[in-house]
Symmetry: C2
Subunit: 238 residues, 2 copies
């Protein structure tokens, strides 16, 4: 397994904090970190998302891995972020994509929760300082580049600088998948035997994946492009 | 009043978010923004601080000013930040300073809550995006420079860059007092008739200000240096 993984970039292996949503990317990242010999402490956030069901899936992943996990309750942010279609009480419905033509930037931008990763990483920074972890990881990847500014390498770089200045420390912020497509991330996950069925992507958060929200579309597309079996049960395959 | 205030640096006046703890500096900042024609929306944070009493004082300030106010419940962060003496359940006691000799950096550092302002500013960024506010303000000042890295101009500069990259926006992060001493901030407040008695500084959060914690010491010192009457009732004057 180690041979097929990217080389460690020279960090001291050890305690780190990882942001874990319960989706494909962050779950793969958690497996990747354990495989590489890190000691990840996972943070999962409840922030008024309609798909808070993802938190149960994050819990399955940490149970599989046997790593420490803390669920941070940020329900209080719901009224502060409620212009996003992903947030409970929003006037915006989660986009429903019947055809690839509907997948425009303007539609996808309704699924942005502004500075969500900034908020999660700031809290991860406080936690990392508190427990003496030298690195913070999150699962940003290139397929999210166009829509989500807080998944871009420029942001990772600048946020690390702000974190170091704001803590007077050398804490590293790492997004090892930031130059990979979601399909490539899935292939890393497949090599690590990540139980993809124990992950959740759907923004609607109903009984099974809806299959038509932007996140379900991305999930299906990544399995197809990555030439991997998709174990997900979708309400609509399209 | 306007003549004695620093000039506006060319921002579009308008809607902004201000971090308001209920202490002297952030309360003065809220008054300053209203005086300068801004429309501040105040955010106050409950994060497991022993002195959560400060929140009542923040509420007095916004009532005086008649501005929107939202109290963000981050109680969930308490176990993530509990190495700081300021947090409930910490093994560290709030330092008690009987003489100026005890005011060493090592002692004062026990009062750091790691990346606290980073966390508050990240949430303020999400909120600013949500309500279309172009600027975020907080009351960092030079007297906090040595102990609190997230009050330094370098941090303000880098955090603004991270905020802009992470939101793909031109949101401005401003700390107008960052080069002033606390005594100078108090003088700005006195010119604006800030009701200093409606502010709270004490880290212990008991019935009246203790007078011996680092924050009480700073409060007393600022009134003395600023040659202003101190309306605060202290349990011990020293």
């Amino acid at each position: 397994m180690h041979d097929s993984m990217p080389q460690n970039d020279g960090f001291t292996l050890g305690k780190c904090v990882v942001i874990l949503s319960g989706g494909l990317d962050s779950s793969t990242l958690a497996y990747y970190l354990v495989d590489r010999g890190w000691e990840p402490h996972a943070l999962t956030f409840r922030y008024g998302q309609k798909h808070e069901k993802e938190i149960q899936y994050a819990s399955k992943i940490v149970q599989n891995l046997g790593i420490p996990h803390y669920i941070v309750n940020l329900d209080s942010l719901q009224p502060l972020l409620n212009n996003s279609s992903l947030i409970q009480g929003s006037n915006e419905a989660i986009p429903h994509l019947e055809s690839p033509k509907q997948r425009t930037l303007a539609v996808l931008e309704k699924t942005v929760v502004p500075f969500r990763n900034g908020i999660f990483l700031a809290i991860a920074t406080g936690y990392a300082s508190n427990i003496g972890a030298g690195s913070i990881f999150y699962g940003a990847h290139f397929s999210d580049y166009a829509v989500y500014p807080d998944c871009r390498p420029e942001f990772v770089h600048l946020m690390q600088k702000a974190i170091q200045a704001g803590t007077d420390s050398e804490i590293l912020l790492k997004a090892p998948f930031v130059h990979m497509s979601k399909a490539q991330v899935l292939n890393v996950g497949a090599q690590l035997s990540v139980p993809f069925a124990d992950t959740w992507s759907c923004y609607k958060g109903e009984k099974i994946h809806c299959g038509v929200c932007p996140s379900c579309i991305e999930r299906k597309k990544a399995f197809l492009e990555g030439r991997l079996d998709d174990p997900t049960e979708y309400a609509r395959r399209l």
